[in-house]
């Protein structure tokens, strides 16, 4: 497989770091792949532009940072403005229609997905927006299966929240699959 370098970005509190950890852990522990996650720490616990890097490969990963992602997720306009210039030419750039207005000049396969509003409409809880995003990412990249994500979630969150997360993940997979066509 080709080494996949991803950057998830957004605003503190949106859960992009959690999503990145879940994806990387699922790849490393349930898909037999090598995965590495890191993040940029600012002084803010909430707000500010958050960035987290995930690398997934089938061989050893030494350098842990992503310079030019081939998958970039931007969940705020600020994150999009800041990070869209670093995407690898021709890479996959995922944004949310509620938060981001895209530019035409970016050399990437831009997928503007209606994730936030779908989550609010179908589930009504913004807390699982990040899991819906993760669903879209795994559908578009086909690196990690939804089952592996669910196995990871089972170890991380209380049982009573699992159904809601599964629902959000499925919504994301649906949105992602539709955008693939």
């Amino acid at each position: 497989m080709e080494r996949c370098r991803m950057v998830f970005s957004g605003s503190g509190g949106q859960g992009v770091i959690t999503a990145a950890i879940i994806l990387a852990e699922a790849a490393a522990l349930h898909e037999g792949l090598t995965a590495l996650q890191s993040q940029v720490y600012g002084a803010e616990a909430r707000g500010g532009a958050t960035r987290t890097d995930v690398i997934i490969a089938d061989s050893e990963i030494y350098f842990p940072k992503v310079n030019q992602p081939n998958v970039l997720v931007c969940l705020t306009q600020e994150a999009y403005t800041k990070f869209s210039p670093i995407i690898r030419p021709g890479g996959l750039l995922i944004t949310d229609t509620r938060y981001v207005k895209t530019f035409k000049k970016v050399d990437a396969r831009q997928r503007e997905l209606n994730m936030y509003e779908t989550v609010m409409e179908k589930i009504g809880k913004p807390i699982v927006f990040n899991i819906c995003m993760l669903g879209a990412v795994i559908a578009l990249t086909e690196l990690v299966g939804a089952d592996s994500i669910m196995k990871t979630l089972e170890n991380r969150i209380p049982e009573s929240f699992l159904d809601m997360n599964r629902e959000a993940l499925d919504l994301g997979v649906e949105i992602g699959a539709a955008a693939k066509r």
């Binding site: 890191s38 940029v40 940072k65």
Partner: protein
């Protein structure tokens, strides 16, 4: 799924290594980027009947674990640059009183408050000479989580074997990034337990009279032997003295017990070193970038090798001298102004062939940075 396989931060790998080594007492004070170690300890230690203490500052944290070590426990504290500065006085006490303990410094940018959430390797010399007076010290590091776990266990083994504080010099990148960690089965990594005195109660016990091999069997506080422990120069009973002969003998013992065993304490990894014409020497997170470059160059047939140091102090001069003897150039990749490069220059026959490839801006040195340095060294320009 084996639950001994985890996807964790380097700081958690360190905490897991400490628990595997038998740690049951931790005291600390929160500081970025080491805090996850304390958090992990506060969760795990009471579950095994161990103790987690949050002290009023880093001075008190190191003091508290020294106190706990004396009752026979394996102990650790964790901090970063500013806290490590505060610990220097008690670190010297642990050296002088020969108290086994492990001090983790997850390095961030300095001096002062510096660059708290960004990587640096600027505390290498502080670990060596931060506390005042002549002394020897042990400092270890690692570049990936499996090795973080491993060197943490070895830190406890060395602390117990030589009755010394051991510094673990990790860095922000390794401390914070997440990757897979497989926890070894019990017994897979041998553990060194404290050497206890065999002298019975009622018989005069000399707490500071080394055995022939230099080791000092201990008696726990609270046990049958009552003795004095002090940071002053002391005699074989632990009682203060300024007798020049005893002062010199003790200082010699404190230095020799480490320096004479530097070959046993030396931990390092070699990548493609057998036929390497050009050598990179690196450690910690910088070694990840160095290894990336080496793997990449080797696939193109270039004879580049990497010597990854895990023991920084006592510096493995002999290993470096021997491995670098036939090399055309030796490039030290680190994130400071050349703290290990200086040691490498002192180790090799021709210091003129030693170069420094560094970065000190809070950003992990990249493979591209290293490739550019190599081009310049080879006279090819960027």
């Amino acid at each position: 799924m084996n639950n001994q396989v985890k996807f964790v931060q380097g700081n958690e790998a360190c905490a897991e290594g400490a628990l595997y080594a038998g740690l049951d007492f931790f005291a600390g004070y929160p500081i970025t980027p080491s805090t996850e170690i304390a958090e992990r300890m506060s969760i795990q230690l009471p579950k095994i009947g161990g103790k987690y203490l949050q002290m009023e500052d880093e001075i008190a944290s190191l003091a508290a674990i020294i106190g706990a070590s004396l009752t026979g426990h394996k102990v650790m504290t964790a901090t970063s640059g500013p806290g490590f500065s505060l610990m220097q006085e008690a670190l010297g006490f642990a050296v002088m009183a020969e108290i086994p303990c492990v001090i983790v410094n997850v390095q961030r940018g300095g001096p002062s408050t510096g660059n708290p959430t960004h990587v640096s390797q600027g505390d290498v010399n502080q670990a060596r000479w931060g506390t005042h007076g002549d002394h020897a010290i042990v400092a270890l590091t690692a570049s990936n989580h499996q090795d973080v776990f491993r060197v943490t266990v070895e830190a406890f083994n060395i602390a117990e074997t030589y009755r010394t504080p051991v510094v673990l010099l990790f860095d922000e990148v390794v401390g914070h990034m997440r990757e897979k960690l497989t926890i070894p089965e019990p017994g897979e990594i041998p553990l060194v337990e404290r050497l206890k005195t065999s002298v019975r109660g009622g018989v005069d016990y000399h707490p500071y009279l080394p055995r022939e091999d230099g080791r000092l069997p201990m008696s726990d506080f609270g046990g049958v032997h009552r003795y004095n422990v002090t940071g002053l120069f002391h005699d074989m009973w632990g009682f203060p003295t300024d007798n020049p002969k005893i002062v010199q003998g003790l200082l010699r013992h404190l230095v020799d017990k480490i320096e004479n065993n530097s070959h046993k304490i030396a931990m390092y990894k070699e990548y493609y070193m057998e036929d390497a014409r050009r050598i990179l020497i690196s450690y910690g997170s910088a070694a990840r970038s160095a290894l990336h470059v080496v793997e990449n160059r080797r696939s193109r047939g270039e004879r580049l090798g990497l010597l990854e140091l895990q023991t920084l102090w006592p510096f493995p001069y002999n290993v470096v001298k021997e491995r670098c003897s036939g090399a055309r150039s030796v490039t030290v990749v680190e994130m400071n102004k050349g703290q290990i490069a200086d040691q490498v220059k002192a180790a090799v026959d021709d210091p003129g062939k030693v170069f420094l490839a560094n970065r000190v801006d809070g950003v992990l040195i990249t493979p591209t940075d290293i490739r550019n340095f190599l081009r310049v060294i080879q006279g090819r320009g960027i």
